[in-house]
């Protein structure tokens, strides 16, 4: 591993967060690189400073618990819980209620649960080298060694727009490997330049009686719509592949 490959992990190495092969690769590199070794030392020193700053001297006093108890009493009054609490006696719950509860539990397992995807995140296709955070899917895929760099992605370039379909050439980046974890291909220099074709209805949302072709002057609006479409597609794919949250 060279310096460029290792730098991404130096802070984690300093914090003892690396393991396995990655840790070994970094350690081997550090044996022969004084610059990276100094960087690790800097990260370790910064972390020690923050850890020292984090040792809090603020503790709750008796007043804290008295105040908290009053507030919890107010919650109990508001929600109808009595001050002298007794645990629920489950043996007094009627048989019918127990059966109804069992039916609901079984139904909950039979009905598929759809997890709402998180809110819109920057699309990988428009992520720039610095400043914009890649999507969570991209980062997870990169960590799994799918070979996709979260920082260098094709950027949509202006293309020729024909009736009924919008053809957008993609500029390949040399650092991008050919496929991501989801099997979509990202195009390296040896691959032919592909063209994305979006049905007009997907772009415009509904069947339209407007002119089929897009004037060049409306290019910016079209680009914005295509970016929005790409984000919708990403969100749908994430929803399809996202595990259920605990």
């Amino acid at each position: 591993m060279d310096c460029a490959g290792v730098r991404r992990y130096l802070d984690a190495y300093a914090a003892g967060e690396l393991s396995g092969r990655r840790r070994q690769d970094v350690a081997e590199h550090l044996e022969n690189c004084t610059r990276c070794t100094e960087e690790v030392r800097d990260y370790a020193e910064a972390r020690e400073t923050l850890l020292a700053a984090g040792r809090s001297a603020v503790l709750p006093g008796p007043g804290f618990f008295t105040g908290l108890s009053s507030r919890l009493d107010e919650v109990d009054k508001r929600t109808g819980r009595t001050a002298a609490h007794r645990p629920v006696r489950w043996h007094v719950v009627s048989g019918a209620a127990a059966v109804a509860a069992a039916v609901l539990v079984i139904a909950a397992y039979l009905v598929p649960v759809y997890v709402m995807p998180p809110g819109p995140e920057p699309s990988m296709a428009t992520a720039i080298d610095d400043g914009q955070e890649p999507s969570q899917t991209a980062l997870a895929a990169a960590e799994e060694g799918a070979g996709v760099s979260p920082r260098r992605m094709p950027v949509l370039e202006p293309g020729i727009y024909t009736p009924r379909s919008y053809n957008v050439p993609v500029t390949p980046y040399s650092t991008v490997s050919t496929q991501d974890a989801g099997g979509r291909s990202f195009f390296g220099p040896s691959q032919p330049m592909p063209r994305f074709t979006f049905p007009r209805q997907m772009i415009e949302g509904t069947a339209s009686s407007q002119a089929d072709s897009v004037p060049v002057a409306d290019y910016e609006a079209l680009r914005a719509r295509m970016r929005a479409l790409e984000e919708r597609i990403d969100a749908l794919e994430r929803a399809r592949h996202a595990p259920a949250t605990p």
């Binding site: 991404r8 802070d11 984690a12 914090a15 967060e17 960087e39 800097d42 990260y43 910064a46 972390r47 400073t49 923050l50 850890l51 020292a52 700053a53 984090g54 040792r55 809090s56 001297a57 603020v58 503790l59 709750p60 804290f64 618990f65 105040g67 908290l68 108890s69 507030r71 919890l72 919650v75 109990d76 929600t79 819980r81 609490h85 007794r86 645990p87 629920v88 998180p118 955070e133 890649p134 969570q136 980062l139 997870a140 990169a142 960590e143 979260p150 605990p246």
Partner: protein, 193 residues
């Protein structure tokens, strides 16, 4: 180390059992949980907000919120992580209401000064405290948060992911960015670059 881990695990299991009782309406069980975790919750609120009074208020709010929603506690989470998530969200709400300004001087300066040995050490520590304060204050919120949770609270990445709602890969990415920013700025300020 193994004994500490075993003790922590034992405490975590005990807390889960107390929460299970609290979910049946047992207020005394919840009071025990509040006492067990008050130091942790107050400490985290203090790091995020920088003010002792605000931290105590926020910590109380966190326990009240936890009791109101005790039925929603999922035992697959540790009680500590669940409470940290509540207090973190409440602290961030407070920060956003006051325009995102973080007054960290009280928190940082006090902690760094606690082991001062002499006048020159005190001066050096105060200077370092001011630097840490300034660097954290100007950092974007999402980076500052993970830096505080990992490098000040010493939480595991998985717990930070649960608290912030991001996945582990995103937490690691943000942590890398936060540490890089902090380190670069630290070097500039201390004249090493």
């Amino acid at each position: 180390m193994e004994k500490t881990t075993a003790l922590r695990r034992s405490k975590a299991n005990e807390s889960r059992e107390l929460m299970r009782l609290a979910q049946t309406g047992d207020r005394e069980a919840f009071d025990v949980v509040a006492r067990d975790y008050a130091n942790m919750v107050v400490g985290l609120a203090f790091k995020l907000l920088g003010s002792r009074d605000e931290a105590l208020d926020c910590a109380q709010d966190a326990f009240v919120r936890a009791w109101e929603n005790v039925g929603r506690y999922d035992p697959r989470w540790s009680v500590a992580t669940w409470l940290r998530r509540i207090v973190t969200n409440l602290a961030l709400d407070r920060l956003r209401r006051r325009g995102g300004r973080v007054e960290l001087s009280e928190a940082i300066e006090g902690n760094l000064r606690s082991n001062a040995e002499g006048p020159s050490d005190t001066a050096e520590r105060r200077e370092r405290a001011e630097v840490v304060r300034d660097l954290l204050e100007v950092m974007p919120e999402k980076y500052r948060l993970v830096l505080i949770l990992r490098d000040m609270e010493d939480l595991e990445i998985a717990d930070i992911a649960r608290i912030t709602g991001a996945n582990a890969a995103t937490v690691r990415w943000r942590l890398h960015r936060a540490r890089t920013l902090f380190r670069q700025q630290w070097q500039v300020v201390s004249g090493e670059e």
